[in-house]
Amino acid sequence: MTDTYTGEINPAFARSKNLIEPLYQRSRSGYRSPVSSESMNLESGLKTVDIEKLYGLYLDLKTKLQYQLDNIYNDGMNDIPGLSTPVETLAQQRQKLSTIRKAIGKMK
């Protein structure tokens, strides 16, 4: 089997496929024409929803980062994402290296 790669595999391009459009709709006001309170209220309401969603996204990312760091460092229950292979934490590996070094010292 042959895999052929083109410029489309560029990560920035791949990410751009996941663009999200906000709920917020721009209402344009004509030159010197009045803006209805209804459209201003709708716009304001959608903007508020968008800002709340963004705040939610920020909290999700913050939680996700801490979860990943916990797993890498010292949680001890981490798998490779999407797989079920258990991975030792950095803390476990540090401890193993320490034990190995001590054992080597004793064998000298």
């Binding site: 344009r28 004509g30 990312l61 996700k64 890498i72 991975v87 540090r94 001590k102 054992a103 064998m107």
Partner: protein, 420 residues
């Protein structure tokens, strides 16, 4: 990608005139900001997932390699010897429900690879941090920390550039938090050294005792720990010379014993410095303490080209974990290790057992350490005896640690067994 929002503040007069151009511009800018923020969040999410997956796969490979080295090491041990090389040798559960069941198991601390007396968590406390209402680790305002650089190190130069994260990052119990101090100099021919001194807050607890100092150097295995000291003065001056500092190993235990270096608190005798230090936990008898001092050294530097012009050297060092604790322990505890001779040899008798316990002086080891050897009556029979069974394919070492009358809380780092 903008670093600042597109949206700008418009100061409109109350009921004053406003033109539609400004209104439309604001509307457009709000939209562009929202699009940018949404997609930035999405981009970060995708990046985090991809890089996390890559880091985990690298971590997995590293752990496999470490395990291979461990097995290789076990096979290289001298004939007729079994060494402790991994917590996987612990084999308590096989005896559950039987007469050799371990009812008070020793506490294994995976961060340091040590076995200590069973810890009573409900009465064990940190002397540096507390848990706030949200369940997070927090630092009291009364915790003062001081860094004093050593006179001959590169840090002592007044022109040196130092970039550091918050020193409290070492104390906060949060994954990934690191106190990292970067000393940027012109060349890498010297070393960086400092003393970290901190008082022990008195508003957190009702005790002024400590018995455990834990520290994990940063970068791991990358710096030297030259000394760990305590002060019991009522109002300690947090400076190297302003207070009487007593080494944690105040009795010079294991004086000039190179095998003990790395397990002993350094700073007591010449040559006990811990080079390229592993994570450290020092358990001592209960001791009144008001302040702690730790001496760290970085001998090697990263090289960099700063601003693309002048080559620089960066001495990077710090701690990813620091705690001073008053822990409570049970009077005794046990653990059972499986002993397997290498290369399909057999065991008929255990000739000697050497425990590696360095927080109790050698003459007192018999007061804190004892063992029994458990044999299987026949291979894989599942019935056990204390009477040696010749030509066994395996046996078990039951270790008992006991707190002694001197107040020592023994910590087992490993053991060596000779058999025939």
């Amino acid at each position: 990608m903008p670093e600042n929002p597109y949206s700008k503040q418009h100061n409109q007069q109350f009921r004053g005139p406003s033109d539609s151009g400004a209104f439309n511009e604001t509307s457009e800018n709000n939209y562009r900001d929202l699009v940018y923020l949404y997609n930035k969040a999405n981009e970060i999410d995708v990046d985090m997932s991809a890089k996390y997956s890559a880091v985990m796969k690298d971590t997995y490979s590293l752990s496999q390699e470490i395990e291979a080295i461990r097995l290789e090491l076990a096979s290289l041990s001298p004939s007729s010897e079994v060494h402790y090389t991994s917590p996987s040798q612990k084999d308590d559960s096989r005896f559950d429900g039987g007469s050799y069941e371990v009812t008070a198991p020793l506490s294994f601390d995976g961060r340091f690879g040590t076995y200590g007396l069973p810890k009573i968590d409900a009465f064990s406390i940190s002397r540096l941090t507390f848990t706030n209402a949200e369940g997070d680790s927090d630092v009291p305002a009364s915790l003062n920390m001081v860094v004093e650089v050593e006179g001959a190190s590169v840090e002592a130069d007044a022109d040196v550039e130092v970039s550091t994260s918050s020193i409290y990052e070492a104390v906060i119990n949060k994954a990934g938090s690191v106190w990292e101090r970067n000393v940027i100099v012109d060349d890498n021919s010297s070393y960086a050294q400092l003393d970290l001194m901190l008082n022990l807050p008195v508003d957190l607890t009702s005790t002024d005792n400590i018995n455990t100092v834990e520290l994990i150097p940063f970068p791991m295995y990358g710096i030297d720990v030259l000394g760990v000291y305590l002060s019991s003065e009522v109002s300690p001056n947090l400076s190297r010379t302003g207070t009487t500092w007593v080494p944690l190993n105040k009795n010079d235990n294991y004086l000039n014993d190179p095998e003990a270096v790395g397990s002993l608190p350094p700073g007591a005798w010449s040559g006990d410095e811990i080079l390229s230090s592993a994570p450290l936990s020092f358990v001592i008898p209960n001791e009144k303490a008001t302040a702690i001092r730790i001496t760290l050294r970085q001998n090697s530097a990263y090289n960099t080209t700063k601003n693309g012009v002048t080559p620089k050297a960066i001495y990077s060092y710090g701690l990813s974990h620091l705690d001073v604790r008053y822990d409570r322990f049970e009077e005794s505890g046990k653990v059972i290790f499986k002993l397997e001779p290498k290369d399909a040899e057999t065991i008929s008798s255990i000739d000697s057992v050497t425990p590696y316990i360095y927080n109790v002086e050698q003459a007192a080891l018999n007061n804190v350490f004892s063992y029994r050897v458990i044999w299987e009556t026949s291979n894989d029979s599942g019935t056990y005896t204390l009477t040696s069974v010749p030509s066994s394919s395996k046996a078990w070492l039951e270790v008992t640690l006991v707190k002694d009358s001197e107040g020592n809380f023994p910590v087992l780092n490993g053991f060596k067994i000779t058999y025939s």
